[in-house]
Symmetry: C2
Subunit: 212 residues, 2 copies
DNA sequence: TTAGTTTTGTACACTTGTGTCCAGTAGTAC
DNA sequence: GTACTACTGGACACAAGTGTACAAAACTAA
């Protein structure tokens, strides 16, 4: 019958899978992160994951299906993930600041200078790929909505001064964050990246005291 | 003898080239802009340029050589080109503002939502491709240096208030510009893009009067 | 016209990648 | 042990792309 590709659970019968799915997805993520989505062929992906191409197709079905899993994993471990965990009532500004600081640190210490997988992906696939491209576009739009919510919350909680146009400020923040991630592929100095980011949050009206 | 690939001049003897080189480069640019550098095969490029593959290799030598010409053409017609024309003594802030406004306009009205060729290219090739990737990285670094020079000039000419850390501010500007270009592939509304950009230049300390 | 020069159409000999198929292998359930 | 099931290695038949080679074509100069 139709094979269950997206089956995280181990089947209770039959020959067991000869590899850990999570490890394989992680390996695929690292490969795509470096090479880009389109340039990563099924052959190369299978090699990077240390599995056969037949196992690749059997377990994941297609490159696109794997990419969806890769993006889910990336989203959970990306430096901006803490922003998505903020609940109503939680402090916002300290998280925003630490996320920015972390982006600078992680991007600058990545010896391969890969930047952000989502940012790279949007640059590569938005408007080109209907499946993964659309997924990435959605991620960016959600990031914008999230920032609108968080900025409103921060103002309401008196963590920062009033904002005239929250929608515009949210987009400025997302634009800066994307640009920072791309720029980090070229400017490899953490202090310099942080100096720019620090500047940016001060413009937002974040009190200097929050910057430790 | 070794063929002169990068020969813009028409040879004075032999069979004449059956196509206009500038048009072919323009067609290649539009193709790469949409598809990306790595995904553009010599075959597809030749088709897009409406020439034979043999003519392609004969006239340009390689994909990389063509890409270099493409980038030169792009650089001259990109919306941020006016920044590179500013001489010492020229006004800076009006140009900065009009460049940002133009980026918003051009990106939003591009029906293919291709964003910026250089930004896309950096996301795709920085740290991966030694030839074109390195060229793009250089372009970004030059943009940072240029902004340092222009910000200093603007302050000196009393077009904007003093800046504490010019290097950091220049990088913030470049990061925002890159991010804006990437974001424009997802946020397709010119007014929204401009609202964010307007916000950003106000943070820079540009007087509201300059924003017409 | 003839010689000299350069471009162009087509073909060649690869290399790389694709998705599928299936026998063989390695487990579980009874 | 005997079913039953699912994963794996290797092969297959294409499809696409690479860079080069070379004769025919198309021009200039003498």
């Amino acid at each position: 019958m139709g094979k269950d590709h997206n089956t995280p659970q181990t089947a209770r019968t039959g020959r067991p899978t000869g590899f850990a799915r999570a490890d394989a997805v992680q390996a695929a993520m690292n490969f795509v992160w470096k090479k880009g989505f389109l340039a990563a062929s099924a052959k190369e992906l299978a090699e990077a994951m240390e599995i056969q191409r037949s196992s690749f197709y059997n377990s994941f079905g297609s490159r696109e299906a794997l990419f969806r899993e890769v993006l889910a994993v990336y989203g959970a471990q990306a430096p901006d993930a803490p922003l998505r965990q903020i609940k109503s009532g939680d402090p916002v500004v300290p998280v925003m600041v630490s996320v920015l600081r972390n982006v600078c640190h992680i991007r600058a210490t990545d010896t391969e200078a890969r930047g952000c997988l989502v940012c790279n992906g949007v640059a590569e696939l938005a408007g080109v790929d209907d499946e993964i491209g659309a997924l990435l576009e959605k991620a960016v739009k959600q990031q914008v909505s999230l920032m609108e919510r968080l900025l409103l919350q921060a103002v309401r909680q008196k963590e920062m001064p009033a904002i005239h146009d929250v929608a515009a400020t949210a987009k400025s923040f997302v634009a800066f964050l994307i640009g920072l991630n791309i720029l980090s592929k070229v400017v490899r100095n953490e202090k310099q990246l942080w100096a720019s980011s620090r500047q940016f949050v001060l413009w937002l009206g974040v009190p200097k005291a929050v910057l430790s």
